[in-house]
């Protein structure tokens, strides 16, 4: 494997401009999962983001939490303000793998990996997070809920890096994160849900129920229209219009849809 080791963001962007097939590498936790069987991955070129210190730090403005391109889950868990102002970030971060994974894995990596079963992406999306991407061509801001185009397909060109993620602060009157894994810890989500409610209305985000993590407009409309949905069957019908779960190695489409509906209904009942 070839590894490029830029010392700064500027240098990293230059390298990516020259070699846009290089794969940005932060915590490496997604790469390692498939490494033993990933023969092609051994021939790839990686852009190691471990050195540019300016990517790591997160900071708070009066309107938002700004996560750096290599801010880890653990960085957020350790910041006492997170649990107070954006508690779902902490809830989700603590559900990621093990403590070791939380210490290495990054929020931007979670977004760029594009897994439909991501733990970090649903809560960011439920908070209306904005992805700030940068290349030598300039800076672009994209709403996370509009970032994905399809399975592992996203609005991130080969020469672009996720520079930061802006998570707006807002007065939220309800927020929940639910992850159903195959066991209580160190599991990949069979169903993931993040919901929040503010004056802008409901945000309902589903993971492991479609090719991408995505908002569920029909369920949001149902919740917005009557606060508490009438029955679990109503929620399941609305959800079915929003998502397209599949049978795979971890679960079944039927289970995913029904359990998501039950969690949404009984969680908000």
């Amino acid at each position: 494997m070839n590894v490029l080791r830029p010392g700064s963001v500027r240098e990293a962007l230059g390298m990516l401009a020259d070699e846009p097939t290089a794969i940005p590498l932060a915590g490496g936790t997604d790469l390692l999962v498939h490494w033993p069987a990933n023969h092609a991955g051994r021939d790839a070129t990686y852009l190691d983001l471990g050195r540019p210190g300016e990517l790591r730090a997160h900071h708070w403005t009066d309107k938002a939490l700004v996560l750096g391109g290599t801010t880890t889950y653990w960085d957020v868990i350790r910041d006492p303000r997170s649990a107070r102002d954006l508690p779902l970030l902490v809830d989700a971060a603590r559900q990621v793998g093990s403590v070791q994974i939380q210490a290495r894995g990054t929020w931007a990596g979670n977004i760029a990996n594009g897994s439909p079963a991501a733990d970090g992406v649903p809560v960011l999306m439920a908070y209306d997070a904005v992805v700030v991407v940068q290349s030598e061509r300039g800076v672009e801001e994209i709403l996370l809920s509009e970032f994905y185009l399809g399975y592992k397909d996203m609005r991130l060109a080969g020469d672009q890096l996720i520079r930061e993620i802006r998570v707006p602060l807002a007065a939220r009157t309800g927020q929940r994160f639910e992850k159903v894994g195959s066991r209580r810890a160190q599991a990949i989500a069979k169903v993931g849900l993040a919901t929040s409610h503010s004056e802008d209305g409901w945000r309902v985000v589903a993971a492991s129920l479609a090719p991408t993590v995505r908002r569920c407009p029909s369920v949001e409309a149902l919740f917005d229209s009557d606060g508490a949905a009438g029955s679990v069957e109503d929620v399941e019908a609305a959800l079915a219009a929003d998502v397209s779960p599949i049978d795979d190695i971890r679960s079944t489409a039927e289970y995913r849809l029904r359990v998501a509906a039950r969690l949404l209904f009984f969680g908000n009942a």
Partner: protein, 729 residues
Amino acid sequence: MAKLTGRELYVDDLPSADHLWGATVRSPSPRGRITAVEFDPSIDWSEFVIVTADDIPGRNAVFLMEYDQPALADGYVRHVHEPVVLLAHPSRDIVRRAAALVTVRVELEAPVLDFCAVPEAGGIQHGTDNVLKHILIEKGDIEAALAAAPIVVEGEYFTGSQEHVYLETQGMRAHVDGDVLVIQGSMQCPYYVVKALVPLLDRDEAGIRVIQTATGGGFGGKEEYPSMIAAHAALLSLKSGRPVKLIYDRWEDLAVTTKRHPSRVRHRTGVDSDGRLLAQDIEIVLDGGAYVTLSPVVLSRAVIHAGGPYACDAVRIDGRAMLTNSAPFGAFRGFGAPQAFFGLERHMDVVAARLAMDPAAFRRVNLIRDGQQTGTSQTISDGADRLEVLDTALAACRWGTRREQIRRHNESHPLAKRGLGLAVFHHGAGFTGNGEVMLQSVVHVAATPRGGVEVRAASVEMGQGTTTIFTQLAAERLGLDPDTVEVAQPDTHRVPDSGPSVASRTAMVVGYLVEQACDDLRRRLGLTDAARGDAVAEAIRTWYAAPGQEELVGEATYLQPSHVEWDEETYRGDAYGAFAWAAYVAEVEVDLKTYSTRVTDFVAVQEIGRVLNQTLATGQIQGGVAQGIGWALLEDFSWRDGAMQNCQLTNYIIPTSDDLPPIRVEFLETPYSHGAQGAKGIGELPMDGPGPAIANAVAHALGVPAVAIPLTPERLMAEHDGLAAREAS
């Protein structure tokens, strides 16, 4: 201590200069003739050592019970992942990539994948009916007893497979030292490897030396399969003339090595209205996979335990192990008994429900009392109080009170249902019937010059505590300081064949031989049996003080206890010299939002003769219960063409510590005269109870059938919502 500090060397860690890395090219198809093996022309294959079936000097079979399983497929494959070609190269990375560039072409024939279906004519691959082994146990007149029984209850039960998930994946290193082929690796049974290599390589035992390296868990998974890997490493090393390491990564280990036999168990049970068992008609079918391997003996243990620890005058147990085109299923802690007990003990709750009896009370009526007989007509008279085992478990969980509390809880909690389930069972320790006589196990205890001893046996330490137990037994027998007792690393050119490290036999059978060998040593020193401690150490030092004195070794060979009589033809008699007896209770809570089940409390009570080491014994029970919880609730397989698809620990789900309840362990002790210090085997016992106890608890919580495990949330959702739909209509 070496393990604790990370200094221990497992086979993959062995320093090895100038060695090659091996890799295995496997069949992509479940069944058919090999039409071609294609080597990708983009690679320079002259850099590689390549071994095929043509390179095998002796008979192409990994011998254990039969010669039917080839070490390398020779023109025909019977399961996906069957080994076809071996490669070796100095680079581990290159050899792995190269293995993916060899293509095995197979003219596919219809595989047999359902072990319960009657095979079609074109699917017959063993005998006339694909039955690898058939066993029938009969006692009394079953048809008459069923006809006369006022109540007959039928049931059908299924168990899934299970992977061992030892922490250390399998691996072997082979090299040639002069005239001797040396095999080092992770294994439970060094002499099994020798016996498999002798016909394969056409060498005698003197030309094969097998050394067990530190073994990171086995659970049965390193009973027979290491012989296959050793065969492959040996063939590569013999052809190349260089040391070869063949180490499986987790994916390969999960995909290709043996697993627990899937089963279907059917019961037809006659009872009277007082709950007395009048007839037990039991049928067991196991999925054996593509070759015989150990399936006949796994089936044997299943049928022998199938009637449970209950007295019943009319019993028929009909067992079959069936060939399918899956990778062979093999030894796994419990060895057929967990499957049999899942069917039996889940069924006991079903029968109790039909009788409107408390499940514990129903079992109490039928539990074997001293003087009564098991299904194989073995008279039990060991003095153990089986009622006390049951009562101790019921008291620990406050059975009656708790069932009532749970009933009230469930009335007021529509989304969180609790249940309490019981399983009562037994487990025979050591080889079945005359098996121990056939093994003729030998143990040596050698005096060491500084006045201590070295225990020499082929029984391995694999995390279960063999080293500690043997040290303790020898030290206590001779009154020596444990620091002066050593346990030899199993090495077939240095230790005698004390048999395989399986069947809950190491502490009970081999440990007893350690004691006998200590006694023999003492006699050879000219001491009386009363001599202990300093007297023994001094006598040893005196022995070695004489110049040129030869090594002094005490020896013991297994002798069948006189009370054991077994008829292999009729499967009647004393199946085991001793049984451990147990009653387990699981409490569960099922979350009806997600249909997931959490075990919230677990009580494990067992009578095991004598507790040799409280810490180790408790650890064995807790570990076995944890493994049983995984089998009952989590460990599910995605199969395609008989091959496992979910070959990573991210999608083959075993419990974490957070998935486990407090596991409350209690021991009762009634010493067994032919076990070390009175001990009976316990290694496998704890695997038998959790499956049915948990399924019974889930059935208690939800009223669902719970007749198949694992009870994954997906399966429970189907059962629960199906039940709700039927009730609504």
